[in-house]
């Protein structure tokens, strides 16, 4: 898939921003928040609206643009990139949601942004007349500092008390939750992916959507948003939201090491660049990162081709995209692991950019939809015709 001139301009803008993001990255990490000026610049460039439906003023561009922009922004600051991709992806997911929910969020404010969260600390919902009642904590709300809404992942108890709970997304406005400042992660610290607390909040039915309606093919939102993008499954192809920053971070890490090695000598006063062991590490890391990028873009192209042909992806495709996505993140982690010995003990400072990227890529790889063990096993099971272990695949 080639990019248009307008898309290339945005990619170039992201590339031009990376050095500034790098300058601010240490500060963002210490503050455990992306600076407001970075957020404002992203807003001004239109980064958050790349996947938003055109009827609300968005671009409606395919998911490869998230990968392409992430590959640039992540080279400066992994956390800023993560906030970009997480807020941008929610605008895509809302485009597939019930038209009434889209109107609730964007009707008065088409630039409203949505973060997301997961009930890792035990938030619960119960069924109520006309909707759900939510209580407790939802975590990992990347982008919560800038969001007007939160699209929570919820597990709805079965109606008759039997069988597994139903996985849904449930939208709540900013006025419905408190933010708990509990994000003290050693990696991706700048994302400020804090927890939100809900106390007996009613969520109307139309603001909830079961993930089974987001498996590719027509979605509730595709009735009003005709582009093929709104027929691509967000829970499988959309996991690029986590791989895109990992790709950018890995590229940034490689660039740090390259620049360092160009001017550094060993204790024996030999140029580091002439050491074949250093060269082999540089090349293998570079090839791993390029393979990760090619794989991510190929998945995006495959998914769009299926949607454009009016077809529905098979479960084998969906599991394969998740597998490939997790594998791409693995390649990025391996690349920085491979480069780590070249930093040397001189790099062991809190300000070291490579080591922040090293922390960030490892943190990114813990997100469950890019966790290799889980995605690999599930994809392997599906290859053998066994049932999926994850209801969201």
């Amino acid at each position: 898939m080639s990019v248009t001139a307008e898309q290339q301009d945005m990619i170039d803008a992201a590339r031009a921003m990376a050095p500034t993001l790098l300058d601010r990255a240490r500060h963002a990490e210490e503050n455990r928040a992306v600076p407001r000026e970075t957020f404002d610049e992203f807003t001004k460039q239109g980064f958050f609206r790349i996947h938003q439906p055109q009827r609300f003023g968005g671009k409606g561009w395919d998911i490869s643009m998230m990968v392409r922009l992430g590959a640039e922004l992540g080279q400066g600051c992994g956390s800023s990139c993560w906030i970009f991709s997480n807020l941008a992806v929610q605008n895509w997911i809302l485009g597939m949601n019930n038209p009434e929910a889209q109107e609730d969020v964007w009707g008065d404010n088409p630039t409203a942004l949505i973060a997301s969260s997961f009930p890792a600390k035990g938030g619960r919902v119960e069924r109520a007349d006309g909707g759900l009642i939510a209580n407790g904590l939802w975590s990992f709300a990347s982008g919560v500092d800038f969001a007007d809404w939160n699209n929570m992942q919820v597990f709805v108890p079965p109606e008759n008390g039997e069988g597994p709970p139903e996985h849904r997304f449930a939208l709540v406005p900013r006025s419905d939750y408190e933010i708990e400042d509990d994000w003290f992660s050693p990696g991706l610290a700048g994302t400020g992916s804090r927890t939100i607390r809900l106390d007996n909040v009613f969520i109307p039915e139309h603001r909830t959507i079961p993930s089974t309606k987001l498996m590719g093919g027509p979605s509730p939102g595709s009735e009003i948003n005709p582009g093929a993008l709104y027929r691509v499954p967000p829970l499988t192809l959309g996991t690029k939201v986590f791989a895109a920053p990992a790709l950018g971070i890995a590229k940034g890490g490689l660039a740090m090491i390259e620049n360092d090695l160009r001017s550094r000598n060993t204790v024996g006063n030999a140029p580091m660049a002439e050491l074949p062991t250093a060269q082999a590490r540089i090349s293998e890391a570079g090839a791993e990162i390029e393979a990760a990028e090619a794989l991510l873009l190929k998945d995006c192209a495959d998914a769009m081709a299926i949607a454009e042909a009016g077809e529905v992806p098979e479960i084998d495709d969906r599991a394969r995209w998740r597998r490939n996505n997790a594998f791409a993140v693995q390649l990025c982690v391996r690349a920085l692991e491979r480069l780590n010995p070249l930093v040397g003990a001189r790099g062991l400072t809190p300000e070291n950019d490579f080591l922040r990227m090293f922390r960030d890529v490892h943190a990114a790889s813990l997100q469950i939809t890019v966790a290799w063990d889980i995605q690999a096993v599930n994809a392997g099971r599906i290859r053998f015709g066994l049932p999926s272990l994850d209801p969201r695949v």
């Binding site: 390259e258 060269q279 090349s283 090839a287 390029e290 393979a291 794989l295 597998r323 490939n324 099971r381």
Partner: protein, 399 residues
Amino acid sequence: MADGNATLAEKQSRHDEFVSIARSFTETFRERASEAETNRRLHRETHEAMRDAGLYRIQMPERYGGFEMSHRTMLDISVEIGRGCGSSGWIFSNITAQNGIVSMASRQAQDDVWGEDGSVCTASSFPAKGGKVERVDGGLIANGIWSFASGVDWADWNNMQVFVPQEGGGVAHHMALVPKSDYRVIDDWYSHGMAATGSRSIELDNVFIPEHRLLNTADARAGTTIEASENFGPIFRVPPMCGANKIFSGPVIGMARGALDAIERDLSTRNNVAGVPMATLTTAQMRVAEAGALIEAAWALMQRDCDVALEIGEIGRPTTVDDRAFWRRNNAYAGVMCVKAVETLHPLIGARGLTPESDFMRAYRDIHAATMQINMAWDRHAITAAELQLGLPPTDPRA
């Protein structure tokens, strides 16, 4: 069509058509693969099926009935064929790529090869056993043995790699075309991997090669041979040593896919000694997933490099040493990933797989042999790319 006359949609549909023909061969070629290995040559029907379907012509000039298609098409076809039989994939891509390289030689050389019959095939060879050329009036004299002539069983010509001594010392790398009447085939291909390629040696005794049948590869790289070749299409602007190295990675990706197919087939029905279906073992699921991801990443990387090379060819700018070094690095790395994939799968075959007929074990042998080809040698290409990345001059003369 040449020179961008075909629309993108037409090109894509022709690409899809050729790949689908190749896919229709996969199973038949797989059934023949074990016998071909024993014979140390492909079945004549295999060669004729590929020839008659026009697969060898995808990189030939339209003037001779060719299609002038991207390296991407060659790559994707060789993946499908190599999936059934690695050696068949290798012969397909080697003959096809030579047609592309012959197209970079002089118009007269192309007429010599295809003037009467556009289906004539050309193999290639390398002087690993010490073949030598010397300069004479109007051309070269060649003596000795040139090896690894994949496709020699089906070829009427051989495009030999030669190192021509230069007046000021040193050598210049050329391709030199000789008709089959000029050489004798030596049956010395007893490799345990890719046995069916029949990549035998040829011997030349005092053979004169006229100047117009020589292609200086440094000139081809610089784009200065285009005028004389009269082939102006974008694929002929991609230098032979970087576009065409997909000759080797394409079949390798196919072999890895074939190996994965064999394991998936086997594990879908097999129980372990405790009566538990192998497919339910988490370790087996992990291995299948990792191999699948490695192979798909390798393929995506090669497709992307083909697309980028064609874009550069279409713009018409000469490639830079960086372009070439990173393509070659990636090409070798695709091989590394595919070898890792079959190594990852290997423990799943079990001792029951230790038979001469096992599809998995043949793919495993083939892929290890295929990655010995110097274009697939990771150590070599990793270092060259890193040298450039770190601002040092490249130590590989062909970079």
